[in-house]
Amino acid sequence: MTAQKITIEPVTRIEGHAKVTIHMKDDNTVEHAYMHVNEFRGFEKFCEGRLYFEMPEITPRICGICPVSHHLAAAKAGDAITGQTPPRPANLLRELMHMGQIIQSHGMHFFELAGPDLLLGFDASPEIRNVVGLIGANPDLTVKAVMLRKFGQEIIKTLGGRKIHPVFALPGGVNKSLKIEERDGILKGVDTAIETLKVGLTIMKDWAEKNMEDINKFAVFPTGYFGLTTPDNGLELYDGDVRLISREGKEMERFPIANYLDIIQEHVEPWSYLKFPYYKKMGYPDGVYRVGPLGRLNVAEKIDTPLANEELKVFKSLNKGKPVENTLYYHYARLIEALFATERVRVLCEDPDILSTDVLNTHKNYTGHGVGVIEAPRGTLIHDYTADENGKLLKVNLIVSTGHNNWAMSNAVDSVAKTYVKGPQVTEGMLNRVEAAIRAYDPCLSCSTHAVGQMPIQLEILNPDGSLRQTVTRD
């Protein structure tokens, strides 16, 4: 008897390298599907011995899609190491750069990475199921999407000199104030960006209406949810306490990030270089939770900008006020967050302090230890550094956004494979849905494997005895 295995490698339109293996039963149904994250780089080790103030430049090289997250988390850990609390204008400027990143990352994911599945269809030919196919199908929309990403990237460049791997934040603040003409330049783009996001929301809602059956059977499962929060439980992306809610939506923990080791722990599986964080008190896997757009909107009770808050009310009604469990609603949540970030750009730019030159606190009160946190586009990012009296790093621990979602992604892959993949003839479209389960989480596998490097995803279908049944490649 030969058992069968399907391999998908690499999983495309995600950041990094992942591979999926689908193990088949004799009756041509799926026994189990695995997502393997297949690289390891080792930033935690090789940063030992470097100086803490180098980290805002070294750690962005963990991920070129969200380098600003690492840049800012490293600077925030630095603030704590040296006891330099940044002045208010510096925090506003850092947050402004972060909003630029949320807009570019979320915008790119919705339109350019996930968009081809939604706009061209899961079963469209892989030859055209990409951004080039989108250009052919809807050139106006594609140009709008490109310009939305550009709007976010230009904010980063205005502040940090470059669009990718900017040089801006440092312990105690930032290295440059914002000029009035730069501020006005940013403000000019806000309305257009909001219009594009409204188009995106319309596309998303139309798609949801037509594909409700898929939405309700595509990897829907309960977990906890985890993310930063404002003092009154509003959506927060730059700074605040972490709030962890249960699958029913009840608050289980609320804590400053410096205490993270009391709350969460990481599980290691032999088949993936990506670790599996969970809520310590509940154990693994009962204590798994989700982060990122869906997690954060479940954690938040409101959004402090008007347009995004209106959308949030619609989002909250999807599961009658309970946490939304549908993997495919990540796309919807992502657009709501991008809308919030764009509105927030306006709020920040209109703040009288944004043009202040008081952007660096040079008064040190050295502690040698610091934990920095930020809501990266994909979820909560934690940088934990310990340095000696000369500032040389003794220990570095990183818990990266995509890692928190590892269990959820793995479960989504298994669930979608069981729902959609049926033999004897497995079609490319079935397998693309398995990839779409990963894509919905917008994983940043370089990030998550900071630690573990990049994630080639590969899909294999195995027979029950582990022998190879089918390897589906697309070329």
């Binding site: 490698e9 339109r13 690289e39 935690e44 090789f46 090289r61 290691v268 630690a451």
Partner: protein, 180 residues
């Protein structure tokens, strides 16, 4: 005339070079006009055409056995191979791992990290690639063009791709080779 085929992939890098490629913004339409984009991380074909592509672009260095396979396959199938960005050209930041070695790095992440479950072990499933020294691409396969930068500027990437797509030889100098 058929358009030249371009394929790309990323290995041990951060995706920043591909993001910089996207930072050419509306000029991406021009690239699509000049060339046929085949397998890339943002399209859905899984590997460069078996029949070959005209230009293969690789981001990142090589730090495991899976990356070695990607580099060998791209070299075999691409007439011209471009190493894109500092990791591809020199090894880059991830090559810092060579100072401590693979074993120490794996141990720290999976056995010693203070956030790990007690008793955690280094992943060792046969599906996973084996880690190696981190190398520049040219230490593994011959490279035709090296485009340094972390990441190279979108203008530079556009220039290189547009020149190659039109059958010309890109020459990186002056403004196109600024280190920042």
């Amino acid at each position: 005339m058929t358009k030249p085929k371009i394929a790309s992939d990323w290995m041990c890098g951060c995706a920043g070079c591909h993001m910089s490629l996207l930072d050419m913004d509306e000029r991406i339409l021009k690239v699509v006009e000049l060339a046929d984009l085949r397998s890339t991380p943002i399209t859905d074909m899984k590997e460069p055409d078996e029949s070959g592509v005209d230009v293969g672009v690789l981001e990142g260095g090589i730090n495991n056995t899976a990356n070695e396979e990607v580099a060998l396959k791209m070299r075999k199938r691409a007439k011209i191979l471009v190493a894109l960005g500092d990791c591809a050209v020199f090894g880059g930041v991830p090559a810092m791992r060579n100072f401590c070695g693979v074993e120490a790095a794996l141990k720290r992440a999976y056995e010693e990290s203070e956030s790990n479950e007690p008793g955690s072990q280094i992943p060792n499933d046969p599906e996973l690639a084996t880690m190696t020294k981190t190398r520049a691409i040219q230490e593994v396969v011959p490279v035709d063009y090296s485009v340094p930068g972390c990441p190279p500027d979108a203008d530079v990437i556009f220039y290189v791709l547009a020149e190659l797509a039109q059958g010309r030889k890109p020459e990186l100098k002056d403004e196109l080779l600024h280190w920042h």
